[in-house]
């Protein structure tokens, strides 16, 4: 039952884009917004609907860093390691996040599926370096203590 509902939404998305294979990227983005990642069976489904090879869809999905083939946490923490953030010691901030959330380089998603931490090349908020973006919200001028406070607040808001 769950599965059928899943594909229903995918059908809607593909329909919105008129089954146009050149719209593959917006389609995949919309699908990912729905499931927070791109499940393999959904990609195959998209490929069949658009009449392209599943390998092509998988090729596009694996090329762009925005797409993920593994489930992500509810909050995606993007830590900026652009030049401005890098020279202002963004990696110290990352260490603090990893320490606080008990993450290792191999697994950057917390066990409760609450947080996924990613390093990105630039958020374009260099004036506020070092900065992070949690889902669509930017937090700037951070240090080790401030970033932990940001995460604590999100956690506290979740528990309420």
């Amino acid at each position: 039952m769950e599965k059928i509902r899943k594909f229903e939404r995918v059908c809607e998305i593909i329909n919105e884009y008129n089954y146009d294979a050149s719209k593959l990227i917006p389609i995949l983005s919309a699908v990912q917004d729905e499931y927070r990642y791109l499940p393999e069976e959904v990609m195959t489904f998209v490929a069949t609907s658009l009449n392209v090879a599943p390998a092509k869809v998988f090729g596009v999905a694996s090329f762009y860093s925005h797409y993920t083939l593994k489930p992500k946490g509810k909050y995606v923490v993007k830590i900026c390691d652009g030049t401005a953030c890098h020279v202002k010691k963004s990696m110290d901030v990352l260490d603090a996040i990893k320490e606080f959330l008990n993450l290792t380089d191999d697994d950057m998603t917390t066990n409760d599926m609450m947080f996924t931490v990613e390093t990105v090349s630039c958020l374009g908020t260099c004036g506020l370096a070092p900065a992070i973006m949690v889902n669509d919200k930017v937090y700037g001028l951070l240090d080790r203590e401030k970033v932990v406070k940001v995460l604590e607040n999100i956690k506290a808001g979740e528990e309420e």
Partner: protein, 629 residues
């Protein structure tokens, strides 16, 4: 279909409605200020004004008296945000918090006073500046593209029209011929602001000459360079200027469809551009029969999916077509065979935003800005170890010294103090650019001069670095970035950048010899020559330029195993200062590998062979008796 509202009428209506505005509060709603809570501040203004019985106007819809509260795009001075400006006096308040709103309302809106403590203070002299135009950060700039960016409400098309917007587009649609438009842009000498510096008018002319049933205009908003955010600010702050530029271009080349390709990391820019496109469609400026001219132009906003290489034009087009964003060999150039195989003009955001003003002021006036070889102004994202970071705009030909000393307010040391002797290097042009030194401070900035010293304008990232930055580490950092972003099509780029990164890591981790540097140099040349697109061709630039200007620092790393900036952990040496150590033994107990030995009450010693350079001893010592060399 004709729902077209004449722009003259829209302008008049706006002016009529604006008449009743007693004061206007502009709250910066760029990403930086929003991150610091500027939207809540805006709501607070509304709440307090309404409570006091004032008429707070959010949208100028009708003729009424009141106080206009509006958001604006990025005003550039992100570090001082949230910024609140009171018009007509143009008083600028910095670092405003929710608690300050009431005081501002009482002092500066209800009355004509000033909240002294929120006014900008120049850190070096302590002098205060109440008016935005007087603040040195703004006074020393020449804001041309960004002029409207921080004042206009980006979500109000009528305000853009009231400032003379879409007049050039109308002229292009109804009066001017295709060739005429191309000539104006060619005469202006405008060059692409995305990095390459190709003459925009010529690009248009080539595309115009190629006959085809379908042509496209693409706005490249895939600003991927780390340390650059000019395009984002324009997209967020003045999206209509981009639409106008695209419309003029479409008329010049005979296109009827356009795409704005925005990076996935810029959700606010996507939202604002989409909103602007909808507003323009509603006003009959986009769609069919624009300005009753019988011509059509439609714009689709497309979000990227996170690939730096998509900033390259052919890769970007592959991405719009729904493929992996991999570059293609040129020729054929996009002017001949672009998107879906049709002639295409692809311009950068800043380039397109310049079009409207150029058409309005005429090419000659535009040429009076900047230099002969590079006309107009350029925006730079100024960041790093300086007092003022943010978005700036200066004419071509400005020197780095002027930017760093006068606009940025000087270089700061690791603790954030201005000492005056801390300047080390400035990195310009992102991962494709290079690192310049003290000797280049008086170089007039333009495309050619920067190329001659091994850097490039690029998209305009300007990162100032002080002496606590290790140049080898910076080169390694950029190589890590390009290696990561290489699309993998060309072997020398895919494997070469990887090997270069390994060599650089060897240097920063103390495993390198002099041969490593030679090999690195040799490999850099191969990657430059053997790559297809600009990503690979320019990837070695940071390495080559640092090797050229900071070779002694590389040599120190390999021969003396020393990093003078103290940034490379593996090259650090921890040492006890004998006369400061009282022999308490605390560090020895803290050391996780038992590398510290010594008798009680006598100076201790660190065994460098055992030491893992974790820094636990420094943190534990209460007498500052341990130092890093």
């Amino acid at each position: 279909m004709c729902n077209y509202i004449p722009i003259e009428e829209a302008k008049k209506t706006y002016e009529k409605n604006a008449k009743g505005v007693i004061k206007r509060v502009v709250i910066c709603s760029g990403t930086g200020c929003v991150a610091n809570g500027s939207l809540d501040i805006k709501d607070k203004f509304l709440e307090i004004l309404n409570n006091l019985g004032h008429n707070a106007i959010v949208e100028l819809k009708k003729e009424e008296e009141g106080i206009h509260i509006s958001g604006s795009g990025c005003q550039g001075f992100c570090q001082m945000g949230p910024l609140v400006t009171i018009l007509p006096e143009k008083i600028m308040y910095c670092k405003v918090s929710i608690e300050d709103v009431e005081e501002i309302v009482n002092e500066s809106i209800v009355n004509d006073g000033l909240v002294e403590r929120l006014v900008y203070e120049l850190p070096s002299t302590g002098e205060k500046y109440a008016k935005q135009d007087d603040i040195p950060f703004y006074a020393k700039q020449d804001r041309f593209i960004l002029k409207q960016c921080g004042m206009l409400n980006p979500e109000d098309i009528n305000e853009f029209i009231a400032q003379g917007g879409y007049e050039a587009a109308k002229k292009a649609c109804t009066v001017l011929g295709q060739e005429e438009i191309c000539n104006v842009i060619q005469d202006s000498g405008l060059k692409g602001r995305g990095g390459g510096g190709f003459p925009t008018g010529l690009k248009w002319e080539f595309t115009r000459r190629n006959e085809s049933d379908k042509k496209y205009v693409i706005c490249n908003g895939d600003e991927g360079d780390p340390g650059a955010f000019m395009d984002r600010s324009v997209m967020e702050g003045n999206p209509h200027s981009i639409i106008e530029g695209m419309l003029v271009c479409a008329m010049a080349i005979g296109a009827d469809e356009g795409y704005v390709y925005v990076r996935a990391e810029y959700p606010l820019a996507v939202k604002r551009v989409k909103h602007a496109v909808e507003a323009a469609e509603k006003a009959g400026i986009l769609g069919d029969n624009i300005f009753n001219s019988g011509k059509s132009f439609k714009i689709t906003v497309m979000e990227g999916a996170g690939a730096f290489v998509c900033g390259e034009e052919t890769a970007l087009m592959s991405s719009i077509e729904g493929n992996r964003g991999m570059p293609m060999p040129k020729p054929p150039f996009p002017a001949e065979k672009g998107l879906f195989g049709k002639p295409t003009v692809i311009n950068n955001v800043e380039t397109l935003a310049s079009i409207g003003p150029i058409m309005q002021m005429g090419p000659d006036k535009f040429k009076s800005l900047g230099m002969e070889t590079a006309t107009g102004t350029k925006t730079f994202a100024l960041t790093g170890h300086v007092v003022n970071t943010g978005l700036i705009e200066v004419p071509f030909g400005t020197t780095l010294r002027h930017i760093i000393a006068n606009i940025a307010g000087g270089v700061v040391d690791a603790e954030g103090n201005i000492v005056g002797t801390d300047f080390k290097s400035v990195q310009i042009g992102g991962p494709s650019g290079g690192c310049l030194t003290q000797e280049h401070l008086d170089l007039p900035l333009d495309y050619d001069s920067l190329k001659s010293v091994g850097a490039m304008v690029g998209s305009g990232g300007l990162v100032v670095m002080n002496k606590s930055t290790c140049m080898v580490e910076i080169a390694r950092y950029f190589m890590e970035f390009t290696q990561n972003e290489s699309c993998g099509k060309c072997v020398v780029c895919r494997e070469g950048t990887k090997q270069m990164l390994n060599l650089l890591t060897d240097i920063t981790e103390g495993r390198a010899t002099v041969d490593t540097i030679n090999l690195l140099e040799e490999l850099a040349k191969v990657v430059q020559k053997g790559s297809l697109c600009a990503l690979g061709k320019t990837a070695p630039n940071p390495v080559i330029s640092t090797l050229k200007y900071f070779r002694d620092e590389y040599m120190e790393h390999v021969t003396d195993k020393k990093c003078r900036a103290g940034e490379c952990d593996a090259l650090k040496n921890y040492k006890v200062i004998e006369n400061k150590c009282i022999g308490c033994g605390l560090c020895a107990r803290k050391c996780p590998v038992n590398a510290i030995e010594g008798e009680k009450k006598k100076p201790h010693l660190i065994d460098v062979d055992k030491c893992i350079k974790c820094g636990a001893c420094i943190d534990s010592c209460k007498f500052s008796a341990i130092i890093v060399e």
